[in-house]
């Protein structure tokens, strides 16, 4: 069963160019599937549409055409709030909610009046229970990033979308996050899509790889195959770190 499936997804966004407004094509005919329980590394140069793709899966924004499926149901037919509970997202920069760490973690369950034990999730992501009563803003960026993952986990999601969760971290801290993701995938059977520009992490984590360049999907397949020998010249260039932002 595919946890996530994109079928011919295209999107354009209105952008301001000087005074005039134009629609910029940000994604072109992307079809992609992620089987349940797998970890997909979404890679590609800056501005290639990786964050946009993640944001379309939990409907923070909608594609202009094409369809997206969650375990076989078109997400356009699901209740948006329930969709977002089932598809957790951790954004590129940690976004804190008002209150302390416990408030942050219990936010999702509280919305639905469900009980929540924030300390459990904190331990899950390798943080001390003592941090619970600290204001979220008093954590280090790495701790905040882990708190954001704990916050998403408290919703008991089926799928986790991670947008460069290690971008602000040093080597040890990002190594911890990588191990955390592997553990979550193994223990909870979570399906994960992770955007990362660190190929070392992609290689350590991913069972599958998808590569976006300029809004088009140019590589998709098992991670071992991709890292051994990419199917395209662009893929090879990217792995060697020779790909410019425009994909040439």
């Amino acid at each position: 069963m595919n946890a996530i499936e994109l079928s011919h997804v295209s999107t354009a966004k209105p952008v301001l160019l000087g005074d005039s407004l134009t629609e910029l094509e940000v994604m072109r005919d992307v079809s992609l599937s992620v089987p349940e329980g797998e970890i997909l590394a979404l890679i590609g140069p800056s501005g290639s549409g990786k964050s946009t793709l993640l944001r379309m899966i939990n409907r923070m924004e909608d594609p202009t055409s094409g369809r997206i499926f969650l375990f076989g149901s078109d997400i356009a037919n699901l209740d948006v709030k329930e969709l977002r509970r089932r598809v957790g997202m951790v954004s590129q920069t940690p976004a804190l909610l008002p209150g302390d760490v416990a408030d942050n973690i219990a936010y999702g369950p509280n919305l639905r009046g469900e009980p929540c034990n924030p300390g459990d999730y904190l331990e899950h992501v390798g943080l001390e229970r003592e941090l619970l009563r600290r204001p979220a803003s008093a954590l280090s960026v790495g701790q905040q990033q882990r708190m954001c993952i704990a916050r998403a986990l408290a919703n008991h999601p089926d799928v986790l979308l991670l947008d460069e969760p290690t971008s602000a971290l040093d080597r040890t801290a990002s190594r911890n996050i990588v191990e955390l993701i592997l553990r979550l995938n193994e223990k909870l059977g979570l399906t994960v899509i992770i955007v990362t520009h660190v190929m070392e992490h992609a290689q350590a984590l991913a069972t599958r790889v998808a590569m976006l360049v300029g809004g088009s999907l140019i590589e998709q397949g098992p991670a071992v195959d991709f890292f051994e020998s990419p199917a395209t010249e662009t893929g090879r260039k990217f792995l060697r770190g020779e790909l410019a932002e425009d994909g040439r």
Binding site: K13, P14, L16, D19, L21, N58, R59, M60, E61, D62, V80, K81, E82, R84, R85, G88, M89, S91, T93, A95, L96, L97, P98, Y107, G108, L111, R112, C148, R151, A152, N155
Partner: protein, 278 residues
């Protein structure tokens, strides 16, 4: 109260009053402020607008009819809503209905209470009471509505990450924006509350001054002022509440997504027009 017990202003007096604009023009010329043109236009407009309104109101006062009073209130509300939209820094599309509904609700609830229960004006549509009181209430509602929507726009822009984090956890738009809404409501209600703190000490409200000039005793004028202040506070609160919920529907999509209008500002209006043509 005898309508002739106070000093009237003749046409000659009005012409003499023009000397005041000459004084400000002289200052502008002397300091090279370049405001002379605007001052001239402003003076002409103020004369024309006020004389026209004076003429219309005079007709209304001479022959009071409830439907003319209602029409006057509707026009005042429309102009107020238009101005509240005009004061928005972001996109304006879809906000007129929000402003009109907010101002109409806030103003009518309080007007009905004051005219019907506190002052017990009979018949209720006596323009002498309804028009000036409605003018003050609607004016304050306009400011409140403009403030609350502008503030909500900037709060949502500023807190974008926080709002989206809440949405991504499954919060409905209203919940994700609750902090921003609270801040905006506070901002809209503060001016009224502040003016209640200083009224009489720092400034004498226009209505009170006017009543005293036309012969009312200060004690009577003060009673009116108290009623009007409390009424304005209530009207602003109701208006801000309606406006903030209405604006929320403009700033979010029906699918609990932040609308792209927050980033695009005024260009959004052109975008919506272009889209609706296709």
């Amino acid at each position: 109260m005898d309508a002739n017990s106070y000093i009237h202003i003749s046409n000659l007096d009005l012409v003499i009053a023009l000397l005041f604009i000459a004084i400000s023009a002289a200052v502008s010329r002397w300091q090279r402020l370049g405001l002379e043109r605007d001052m001239a236009v402003g003076t002409v407009r103020a004369f024309a607008q006020l004389l026209a309104v004076g003429f219309v109101l005079q007709q209304l006062f001479n022959v009071p009819r409830w439907h003319w009073v209602i029409l006057a209130l509707a026009i005042m509300t429309t102009v107020a809503a238009y101005n509240a939209v005009k004061r928005q820094t972001g996109a304006k599309h879809g906000l007129f209905a929000v402003m009109a509904a907010a101002i109409a609700t806030g103003a009518s609830i309080t007007l009905i209470l004051v005219i019907g229960i506190v002052l017990r004006v009979r018949p209720w549509y006596q323009p002498q009471y309804v028009i000036p009181i409605a003018g003050m209430v609607i004016g304050n509602c306009m400011t409140g509505a403009a403030l609350v929507v502008n503030r909500l726009h900037s709060e949502l822009t500023l807190r974008r990450n926080q709002v989206e984090a809440a949405l991504a956890l499954g919060a409905p738009a209203k919940e994700a924006a609750s902090e921003a809404m609270r801040e905006s409501l506070r901002a809209a209600m503060m001016p009224t509350i502040n003016s209640m703190m200083t009224v009489g000490l720092v400034h004498l409200p226009g209505m009170m001054t006017g009543q005293m000039i036309s012969g009312a005793s200060p004690v009577d004028a003060v009673r009116y002022q108290i009623v009007v202040m409390l009424m304005i506070a209530a009207a602003t609160a109701v208006t801000a509440m309606v406006a903030v919920f209405g604006a929320l529907r403009a700033f979010f999509t029906p699918f609990h997504q932040l609308s792209a209008r927050l980033e695009l500002g005024e260009a959004w209006d052109a975008y919506v027009r272009k889209k609706s043509k296709h």
